[in-house]
């Protein structure tokens, strides 16, 4: 077996191990006594399997590095996979600080969703472009990912706090918003499911369209609902597009990405509706009883602590190391590139979060909402800024 396929298999193994670990974390719910020291055997097994999964994940990273000769952080697949690994690492660290098994029940599935999302991007080992060819690639990118991974734990704790504390007895604006957040997770599931289905079928449709002054082609792997603006379908015997993407959509392959979003919303909504139909209640309401034994103030504490730990690391990686590298590569440490601006926005947001924690009235539920929004900004920077807002970082 060569290194590349070994690397792929290790990642696959990590994913399976995380899945098994989640089941064991799930088993800890039944244990009535949630006292810190008597966690029981199931929690120990779960964290052991998580660590094994992490080691396997790390093995993927090292073997891929060995095979390509550069740290696998060069494109969307590689970065998001690494981010998933950083999230797991952050979870393991926080787990040993607080020993809260329930955290794993939520953190692992969401991290797995991120890893699955990563694998939807082209995963061939690609050569490094000259601008990325620097030691700062690993220094900057890995620090950012670890910072974001820890901030992710704050999101998980915040989400758990909201699921636990928000009244689900009747429909309110609060539990509706919570439901919207959970629904977003279903959109990711929808994206993963639909992309996988059509990938297996090997669906392809090619369009030709004008971009600025050049004619370019783009290949759809999902049936085209939205064609590129002024695009002409070249492939025969495939579904005709229903309409064209609007003109203002910018950047490479805007039409194709828009089409993917439509499909994700479509399939995600169906999966969500089926879930609600089976549960016969809001997803938030169905999850609430799982958290009966968790102490709300501990969740609040973890949520704040994770920001306190993650914020300096994020600042170091996302702003300071980023600036040093930008200075070396482009001669300017700051250039108001969209990705840079969104890193600054993330920083502003968590700075505001930390300052608000000083005031009374911002602990608990409000903090929970903020933790969720903060992670929303991180995801926005990862997905929308990379894929939609064109800039120096749009390497996917």
């Amino acid at each position: 077996m060569d290194l590349v396929s070994l690397s792929g298999n290790l990642l696959y193994a990590a994913f399976i191990l995380y899945l098994i670990a989640t089941l064991f974390f799930g088993a800890t719910i039944r244990q009535k006594d949630s006292k810190v020291k008597k966690k029981g055997i199931s929690g120990n097994i779960a964290i052991t399997i998580t660590i094994l999964g992490f080691l396997s994940h790390f093995g993927y990273f090292i073997t891929r590095w060995m095979s390509s000769g550069h740290a696998p952080l060069g494109n969307m697949f590689e970065f998001v996979t690494f981010l998933g690994m950083a999230m797991i690492l952050a979870f393991i660290i926080i787990y040993f600080m607080y020993r809260l098994s329930f955290l794993g029940l939520f953190a692992l599935p969401i991290a797995m969703l991120i890893i699955a999302y990563a694998s939807m991007f082209p995963s061939e080992v690609a050569p490094l472009v000259p601008s990325l060819n620097s030691h700062w690639l690993y220094i900057h990118v890995s620090t950012v990912a670890i910072g974001q991974g820890i901030l992710f734990i704050s999101f998980v704790a915040g989400l758990m706090y909201l699921i636990k504390e928000i009244d689900q007895s009747k429909r309110t604006s609060k539990n509706t918003w919570l439901e919207v957040i959970l629904y977003t997770a279903f959109l990711f599931i929808g994206f993963i499911v639909i992309t996988t289905v059509f990938n297996i079928m090997g669906y392809k449709a090619t369009f030709e369209y004008q971009e600025g002054t050049q004619m370019v082609t783009t290949e759809y792997h999902l049936p085209a609902i939205a064609a590129p603006n002024n695009g002409v379908l070249i492939t025969e015997e495939v579904m005709e597009p229903w309409f064209e993407a609007p003109t203002w959509m910018q950047g490479a392959d805007a039409g194709r990405k828009f089409n993917t979003v439509i499909w994700s919303v479509f399939s995600g909504t169906i999966i969500y509706l089926l879930t609600v139909l089976i549960l016969r209640k809001r997803v938030g309401a169905a999850l609430q009883p799982l958290l009966r034994n968790v102490k709300a103030d501990l969740l609040d504490e973890i949520m704040y602590r994770a920001v306190a730990i993650g914020f300096p690391i994020f600042t170091l990686g996302g702003l300071i190391f980023a600036a040093i590298w930008a200075q070396i590569a482009w001669g300017r440490f700051w250039g108001w590139d969209p990705k840079e601006v969104w890193a600054l926005i993330t920083w502003f947001f968590y700075a505001a979060f930390l300052h608000l924690r000083l005031s009374r009235g911002w602990h608990g539920e409000k903090s929970g909402w903020l933790a969720v929004v903060g992670f929303g900004i991180i995801m926005f920077n990862l997905i929308v800024v990379n894929l939609v807002l064109a800039g120096l970082h749009s390497y996917a």
């Binding site: 061939e124 080992v125 690609a126 203002w248 200075q327 590569a329 001669g331 969209p338 505001a352 300052h355």
Partner: protein, 545 residues
């Protein structure tokens, strides 16, 4: 100043909420920190007298208390955050793509994004981060940082220095961590003390009252990191001055030696060669990716020689002395005498020279009778050939285009699309013939020419784009960032934990406070009181709904 004397004997400044020494709530001031409505005391700044909360009469007082409010600070951050977001909605003017139909912002935004784009442009959002109000906003955040820090740091520093181990009972029983134990022996207290010491708490005692404290320095973290941020903001202001910051862009052709702009004519650069290298498509590692995604560059490199000009007599040609021989690559700039040169771009296929041949018009084979080469950077006016032909270069358009009036002209001085009008004098001394030559063009003005001139060969070269920077502010940004990191780590990774033991009758009151990580403090206390009768503190946090 109306000093307030506490029953413990300490004299507090006006506006104090909790006595600096014993922590007793001072009557009449409890509304300041909102203690009147809660069971627990607000411990944020130790209940010290802050200027912003005490004096609110004069204009200066009002400005001071406005900027010292964390709420105002957070609002400023939120406004800056929203403005930054809006700035990324559409590309900023410097990021308008090169292949856009028009790069003029006045046209681009409306053309591309319709009415919203037009409004975006008219509001000036296309240059958001250079706009005066965005800079004012950052400035206000800076002012808020300074005032917030001064308002809190000084009284807090004083209070933590003055604090006494003996605290007022009300102070203790209004702490979040609190317990009362009726009967405790002296040995047990000694045991707790020893265990706290083992956990690296600093113990101070006063008549049996014990204060165990650790990580006080973490309280200064926020002020340290704010100093770092202020240095960064000051550096940003410095950077707007030309002494501290120069930014120039220069195009250098292969083989060319030119003066580097922005160096006052002191330095010259020679481009020895430019290299554009590609990843090998047959490389096993990358074969699939290159097959599906196309060729990928692996290196952009300019081999340069930097010269220092020695000019003894003004006006005379300077004498060039080589000072640096280097290869500039992406991520590997060249440095000399405080200047840094970065590889920033290149142009491919610029013509260097063109070779033409002369053949008989009716010769199907177009066999060359003779040929000549025009150096496009240094054309001669006349070429006398061995075969007796004489070619006069009548017109030269390095970057040819036809104007709206139909007149040939040159768009730039660079030979990107060279065109010529040549007059050919055949050796037999017959009438001279005029030809118009260009890429893909060969026009015989009269249609009666006996000889035709055609492009035989050409030579191209690369033009390398280099950015020259002088940034003397980098050191300040570096110092600011380092101080910020120290401060933020100091404040976030350590916590100021305190435990008070207050003997009362036969028992003790036990209370604890920390600015962060209550979970950690409770574990510390748990460990300290193990195997004693002292009751574990109760967490009485009032969570906000």
């Amino acid at each position: 100043m109306n000093k307030i004397k506490c029953e413990c004997g300490h004299v507090n400044p006006e506006g104090t909420v909790l006595c600096e020494a014993c922590g007793k709530p001072i009557e009449g001031n409890q509304h300041i920190d909102g203690n009147d409505k809660k069971m627990l005391l607000n411990m944020r700044y130790e209940g010290t007298a802050r200027r912003s909360q005490t004096y609110r009469k004069s204009f200066i007082d009002k400005v001071w208390s406005f900027f010292s409010s964390v709420k105002v600070g957070v609002w400023l951050i939120v406004v800056a955050l929203v403005a930054s977001m809006i700035g990324t909605l559409f590309p900023q003017s410097q990021f308008i793509p090169a292949n856009a139909t028009s790069r003029d912002p006045a046209i681009y935004y409306e053309d591309q994004f319709g009415l919203i784009g037009k409004i975006y442009y008219q509001l000036g959002f296309h240059e958001m981060y250079d706009s005066w109000w965005y800079l004012v906003l950052l400035g206000l955040i800076g002012v808020s940082l300074v005032i917030c820090s001064l308002d809190r740091f000084i009284p807090l520093y004083k209070a933590l220095r003055i604090q006494k181990p003996k605290r007022h009972e009300t102070f203790l029983n209004r702490q979040r961590f609190y317990s009362e134990t009726e009967k405790v022996s002296q040995e047990e207290i000694e045991q707790v003390k020893a265990k706290l010491k083992k956990q690296r708490y600093k113990i101070t005692e006063e008549n049996g009252h014990i204060l165990a404290e650790k990580g006080r320095f973490s309280r200064w973290g926020p002020y340290v990191n704010h100093i770092g941020l202020i240095i960064i903001l000051l550096a940003a202001i410095l950077r707007t001055t030309p002494i501290m910051f120069t930014d120039e862009y220069v195009w250098v052709r292969e083989g060319e030696t030119i003066v580097i702009p922005g160096t006052k004519g002191e330095y010259y650069i020679e481009n020895e060669q430019f290299l554009l290298e590609m990843h090998d498509p047959d490389d096993d590692r990358f074969r699939d990716a290159i097959a599906s995604g196309g060729m990928v560059a692996s290196n952009y490199q300019t081999d340069v020689v930097i010269y220092k000009a020695k000019q003894d007599i003004p006006g005379a040609e300077p004498e060039l002395e080589p000072i640096l021989d280097d290869s500039i690559q992406m991520n590997k700039p060249a440095k000399f005498d405080g200047y840094t040169l970065y590889q920033s771009g290149y142009q491919q296929n610029e013509f260097r020279s063109m070779t033409f041949k002369i053949h008989e018009t009716n010769d199907e084979e177009a066999t060359a009778i003779d040929s000549f080469t025009i150096d496009l950077f240094n054309p001669e006016s006349e070429y006398i050939l061995d075969s007796g032909f004489r070619v006069v270069l009548d017109q030269y358009y390095p970057d040819y285009y036809l104007t709206d009036e139909g007149v040939p002209a040159s768009e730039t001085n660079y030979p990107r699309n060279p065109a010529f009008v040549v007059v050919v004098y055949p050796p037999d001394a017959s009438e001279p013939e005029v030809s118009f030559l260009g890429i893909g063009r060969n026009i015989d003005a009269t249609g009666e020419n006996d000889y035709k001139v055609a492009i035989q060969d050409f030579d191209t070269h690369y033009v390398s784009g280099l950015t020259l920077r002088v940034d003397r502010t980098l050191i300040f940004f570096g110092i600011g960032a380092a101080i910020f990191m120290i401060g933020v780590i100091q404040g976030m990774y350590w916590q100021h934990r305190r435990v008070w033991i207050h003997p009362k009758a036969d028992g003790v009151l036990l209370a604890g406070h920390t600015n962060k990580n209550w979970f950690g403090l409770s574990k510390d206390i748990e460990k300290a009181i193990e195997q004693t009768n002292i009751k574990m503190v109760e967490d009485r946090q009032e969570l906000d709904k």
